[in-house]
């Protein structure tokens, strides 16, 4: 049975991490790169084998737990280091290991001139191992280990170019913001343990099903867990770290900050569908946050000139879509979009990496243009991915995004649908804006860079082409309309607990087709607008910006959210720390001594003559403690 070897999946990358980490410094780059890629590739192979085996099982038997060892065994608290094989985790494992393999291969070429080559592959392998643990854990605690582990790797990789101040700052920001989210996750976990006495998914969900819909404790649990998801998956209000995370190398942005880690929150919500389906309030919160993030990030994306930042805001926005889907109970659509998004967004990032590679690291789209001829493969693959994200038939994004739009109207509220459609329009606009600015029109490339613009080597373009292929055909596993043809849904549904009262809605096929055409039209309109503004009338954007200067500035500066956080949260904490230290701890007692009435001042003045330093103050603090504690205990 291949399934018994499921532990190999995270083990391979971990071994790669150990080899590269311990010996990599002295190994040639090719060997390091090969070890890294092969390790992840092997995981992918094992996953495929297990997948093939699971397909042979009847749908209701597709839930297998493989215990490796008992991690924390202690009366009420039984936590195992164990893997869960079910359709949901398998899909995630396939996405993670598959996309990772491609990105590893790409990185061998992309990072080739970097001095920290082995360091890069060490971190990247560790990341993959942690991510695989995250998606295959059978309990919350082990999932949390992966959750923290990917956070750690993400932090290390964002700060990979540590010589740059901005990079190490971005790394720290990502870690700290993520910890805020983790705090929610951890509390949710404690509450789960407190309520159900277990942390095992299966046991918790089985026990939870006995609770009524809308139960208070489950609502609180799911809200706490969702705080964790907002941190990891960059949703309002904790999304600010993701755009800054683009300071990391581009393959990292593709792998961690687009395809895999940031989707962990969506995975977690889908994994806990049994809990979320019992908490309508939480679902509403998830849907609202998702919808708001989708539109909010999309608008910011319109005004950015850094190609990776455009993609970053686009990622935030697309993650919003996934949460919106989960929030209206369409978990499968959320995961579906997660998958297609992994393909086309990884491709977009790798494409932008390829552009950077050709342009000696240029990121500003105002200094690109006309690259279509010099970089044909990059251009065509990038274009395919853009069509996919814009939601044009028959590319992958069309199917998944259309499903989300459809469910947000049918299962949700019209307002969700309205917001999501508006976001879809903006997405199509800014993505094509990026394509036009980068590849079309006149070349605005700096002169000293212009003469050696070149297409990337095959080691980079082949992964691009594979991902492009997936972006084109990946959507067909989720064929709408035809009964039973939605292979993806059929496969995934045993692992998902649907929202109870949602079976009723079943609109006609005509309505469904109308919806598709409509969303295509919206996307087309977005593309046309971009075409008009950036190809036909290149002066138009500046004119518009001038006319709406205030709004433009607001959007260009990302609504000043970073600045607001700095003023409202970061600075006060720093200040508070200083105040506590200087005033309360060092001078506070002194202040009490000096500020109190004569007798104490008199005493203290005389005590000071007897002793040097501030020991008397310390003693006074102890005395105060004695008085307060005694007073409390006796007086109560």
């Amino acid at each position: 049975m291949m399934m018994d070897y499921v532990w190999l999946i995270p083990l391979f990358p971990f071994v790669g991490f150990l080899i590269n980490g311990l010996l990599g410094k002295n190994l040639p780059k090719n060997v390091v790169g090969t070890i890294g890629s092969v390790a992840v590739g092997l995981s992918f192979l094992v996953t495929v084998c297990i997948f093939a085996q699971v397909l042979k099982l009847p749908p209701e038997a597709r839930h297998v737990e493989k215990v490796v060892f008992t991690w924390i065994a202690s009366g009420p608290l039984q936590v195992q280091a164990a893997f869960l094989i079910d359709p949901l985790s398998l899909i995630m494992l396939l996405i993670v290991s598959g996309v990772s393999t491609l990105i590893h291969i790409y990185s061998v070429s992309y990072m080739h001139d970097d001095d920290g080559f082995y360091r890069f592959f060490t971190y990247l392998n560790l990341f993959v191992a942690m991510m695989l643990i995250l998606v295959s854990a059978n309990n919350f605690l082990l999932m949390f280990v992966g959750w923290e582990g990917v956070g750690l790797c993400s932090y290390l990789l964002i700060g990979y170019y540590y010589e740059k101040q901005s990079a190490s700052d971005a790394g720290k920001k990502a870690f700290v913001v993520n910890r805020i989210g983790d705090f929610g996750f951890l509390l949710g976990m404690f509450l789960i343990f407190w309520t159900f006495g277990s942390l095992n998914f299966k046991e918790v969900f089985a026990l939870a099903s006995k609770y009524p819909v809308g139960s208070g404790v489950i609502t609180v649990i799911t809200l706490f867990l969702f705080i964790g998801a907002t941190g990891k998956s960059a949703q309002i209000p904790l999304y600010t770290w993701l755009p800054d995370a683009m300071e990391g190398p581009t393959p990292v942005s593709a792998l961690i900050h687009a395809a895999t880690m940031v989707t962990a929150g969506v995975y977690m919500v889908a994994r806990c569908s049994a809990l979320y389906s019992l908490a309508p309030i939480s679902l509403t919160v998830v849907a609202i946050i998702g919808a708001l993030t989708a539109i909010f990030a999309a608008t910011i994306g319109m005004a950015q000139f850094d190609i990776k930042r455009v993609l970053a805001y686009s990622t935030v926005s697309q993650l919003g879509y996934m949460f919106l889907a989960c929030g209206v109970g369409a978990y499968i659509s959320g995961i579906f979009h997660l998958m297609t998004h992994a393909f086309f967004k990884a491709l977009l990032f790798l494409g932008s990496g390829s552009v950077m590679h050709g342009l000696s690291g240029e990121l500003d789209m105002r200094k690109m243009g006309g690259l279509k001829k010099e970089m044909p493969i990059t251009y065509w693959t990038f274009l395919l991915a853009t069509l996919a994200i814009a939601g044009i038939f028959p590319f992958a994004g069309f199917f998944s995004k259309d499903e989300i739009l459809f469910h947000s109207l049918v299962d949700g509220k019209a307002i969700y649908w309205g917001i999501a459609t508006a976001a879809a329009f903006i997405t199509a606009f800014y993505m094509f804006r990026a394509v036009f600015m980068t590849f079309h029109g006149e070349s605005r490339v700096d002169h000293h860079v212009a003469h050696h613009v070149h297409e990337s080597p095959p080691l980079m373009t082949v992964p691009l082409m594979i991902l492009a292929g997936l972006s084109v055909v990946g959507g067909f596993v989720g064929m709408p309309l035809i009964e039973g043809a939605h292979v993806f849904r059929n496969f995934l549904s045993p692992a998902i607990t649907p929202v109870a009262h949602h079976a009723a809605a079943h609109p006609t096929a005509a309505f469904e087709i109308f919806m598709m055409v409509f969303s295509m039209a919206v996307a087309g309109l977005g593309i046309y607008t971009a075409y008009k503004m950036y190809i036909l009338f290149p002066d138009l954007p500046t004119a518009i910006c001038d006319k709406f200067r205030t709004i433009y500035d607001l959007v260009y500066h990302k609504y000043y959210v970073d600045e607001i956080y700095d003023t409202v949260v970061v600075e006060p904490i720093k200040e508070g720390s200083n105040i506590l230290w200087n005033v309360v701890d060092a001078k506070g007692v002194d202040g009490v001594v000096n500020g109190s009435a004569g007798i104490i001042a008199y005493l203290s003045a005389h005590l000071r003559k007897l002793e040097t330093g501030f020991v008397q103050n310390y003693a006074f603090a102890i005395l105060l403690g004695v008085v307060v504690i005694t007073g409390y205990l006796i007086g109560r």
Partner: protein, 484 residues
């Protein structure tokens, strides 16, 4: 005239006797051997600790009282014996080169370490409050002297004096509390007898006693508002002694704290848990928040140790079996990760503690990757990030709090550990993401310190990934508390 001599079994206090004999032997060997020959003392100390360790293991599983009901021989105390022995042994290992650099590799240092360890054992095993007080003083007096080991250094002197004066002050409260308790209980201080003797009529007196005991123990564990000595003393004392104080003294104080409160006052739990609740919150918060502003690594670790005292108080507040277990587990984990961190501080500090600013860690990751990796591991463990021991320990503690119904306490605790990430992470950021301001130069990797780092690092990961064994040991040990 006949005298009734109580029967006793010397084996019950075997570890104490061994350590005392070895400590005396160290002193004698030093006094009688020719000058300049000081290699024997640390070896003798390690040998003594090893023998005491074996004796402790052979006592494991016994459950009873000895020496006229003055001493517990049970797994709870034996577990702590092992923690003390481990902590002291690691302290000996990190001290060697450090003291040599200062020209202070004195035999008395090792003897005092052993005497302090005996005091700690007395505290963990005392079945009578006077025994616990004796242990506390035996330990404290040795540590007072150790803190002032660098006689020529003004800060070391200051540390010793401050600790002595305030320690005496706090001890007085502790003793006064015991006196009150003696009155309230009608003339007994046996922990076993206290619950039955503390009648409702004397409740006010008992509460007064509890308040004073909280002060006494709170001082030793560095709980707010009795924490103020900690930063000064930790900063001024020799680094190896600071490490010893941070782990050993705190562990011993918590052992006694837990034993006395769990065993003697189960009926008054609502009263004292409320007090400790407030202390825990204040301690965690102040420790973590103030640590952010520190730039001296020893001072930062001092505030970090205050914060950890806060977490450990949470375990006391929970006052259930899981709470007691988490306390034991966390103290062991804390011993490992803190000693590891101090080992790195000693290595980086080099000759005469020249590099104690946190900015001296900039660029360490590039120049000494293994050392930086170890430090990063200890920082992550202290911050409570899985899969290290620090995470499992915090998880146990906060689970215990949640289980006991103190959800807000757990929330505050988790929030605090989020804050703590900031300053622990800063060290990692400095090490890996900032270039060195100057070439750090060679670091003298003394074999003993390197071995300590390897051992503690392995331990931190190992008991983090496989905590089950320790958990079972601890669970087995806390059965002695019927009130939980």
């Amino acid at each position: 005239m006949t005298l009734n001599i109580p029967s006793f079994n010397l084996a019950s206090i075997g570890p104490w006797i061994t350590l005392s004999i070895f400590a005396i032997a160290i002193l004698l060997a030093d006094a009688l051997s020719p000058k300049g020959n000081r290699t024997a003392a640390p070896l003798l100390a390690l040998a003594g600790l090893a023998v005491a360790g074996f004796q402790t293991i052979s006592l494991w599983g016994k459950n009873g009282l000895d020496f006229a009901r003055m001493v517990y021989v049970d797994n709870f105390s034996l577990f702590f014996y092992m923690v003390f022995i481990l902590g002291t042994a690691l302290t000996v290992l990190i001290s060697l080169q450090y003291l040599k650099d200062y020209g202070k590799n004195l035999a008395e240092y090792y003897a005092l370490l052993l005497f302090a360890t005996v005091g700690m054992m007395l505290m963990a095993a005392g079945a009578h409050l006077i025994m616990i007080f004796l242990g506390l003083e035996v330990m404290s007096i040795a540590v007072y002297v150790l803190a002032g080991l660098f006689r020529e250094d003004a800060r070391s002197n200051e540390a010793a004096l401050k600790y002595l004066v305030l320690g005496a002050f706090a001890s007085a409260f502790l003793l006064f509390g015991m006196a009150m308790l003696y009155g309230a209980a009608g003339g007994t201080l046996f922990l076993n007898d206290l619950p039955g003797r503390l009648t409702a009529g004397f409740k006010p007196l008992t509460l007064l006693a509890i308040a004073l005991l909280v002060v006494g123990f709170g001082f030793k564990v560095a709980s707010v508002p009795f924490h103020m000595w900690t930063p000064d003393v930790y900063e001024g004392a020799p680094t190896s002694v600071t490490a010893f104080m941070a782990v050993g003294v705190k562990t011993a104080a918590f052992a006694a704290f837990a034993r006395v409160f769990f065993l003697a006052f189960p009926t008054l739990m609502p009263d004292w848990t409320m007090v400790l609740w407030v202390l825990a919150v204040a301690t965690m918060t102040l420790g973590n928040v103030v640590a952010i502003a520190q730039t001296n690594i020893k001072r930062m670790l001092a505030y970090s140790s205050i914060a950890h005292a806060g977490y450990l108080l949470v375990a006391l507040v929970a006052a259930n079996q899981l709470g007691a277990v988490s306390l034991m587990y966390y103290l062991l984990a804390y011993t490992l990760m803190n000693l590891g961190a101090f080992g790195v501080v000693i290595l980086v500090g080099r000759k005469k503690d020249s590099y104690l600013s946190i900015y001296d860690y900039a660029g360490l990751g590039a120049q000494h990757p293994a050392l930086a990796a170890a430090m990063a591991l200890f920082m992550f463990a202290l911050a409570g990030i899985p899969p290290t021991a620090g995470f499992v320990g915090k998880f146990y503690i906060f689970s215990a709090a949640v289980k006991a119904g103190y959800i807000w306490l757990a929330i505050i605790g988790v929030m605090n550990s989020v804050v703590s990430v900031y300053y622990y992470l800063r060290i990692t950021v400095l090490m890996y993401m900032k270039p060195a301001e100057a070439d750090l130069g060679p670091i003298n990797f003394a074999p003993a310190v390197t071995a300590t780092l390897l051992l503690t690092a392995a331990g931190v990961v190992l008991i983090g990934v496989f905590p089950g064994f320790l958990y079972n040991l601890a669970l087995n040990s806390v059965k002695i508390f019927p009130g939980l």
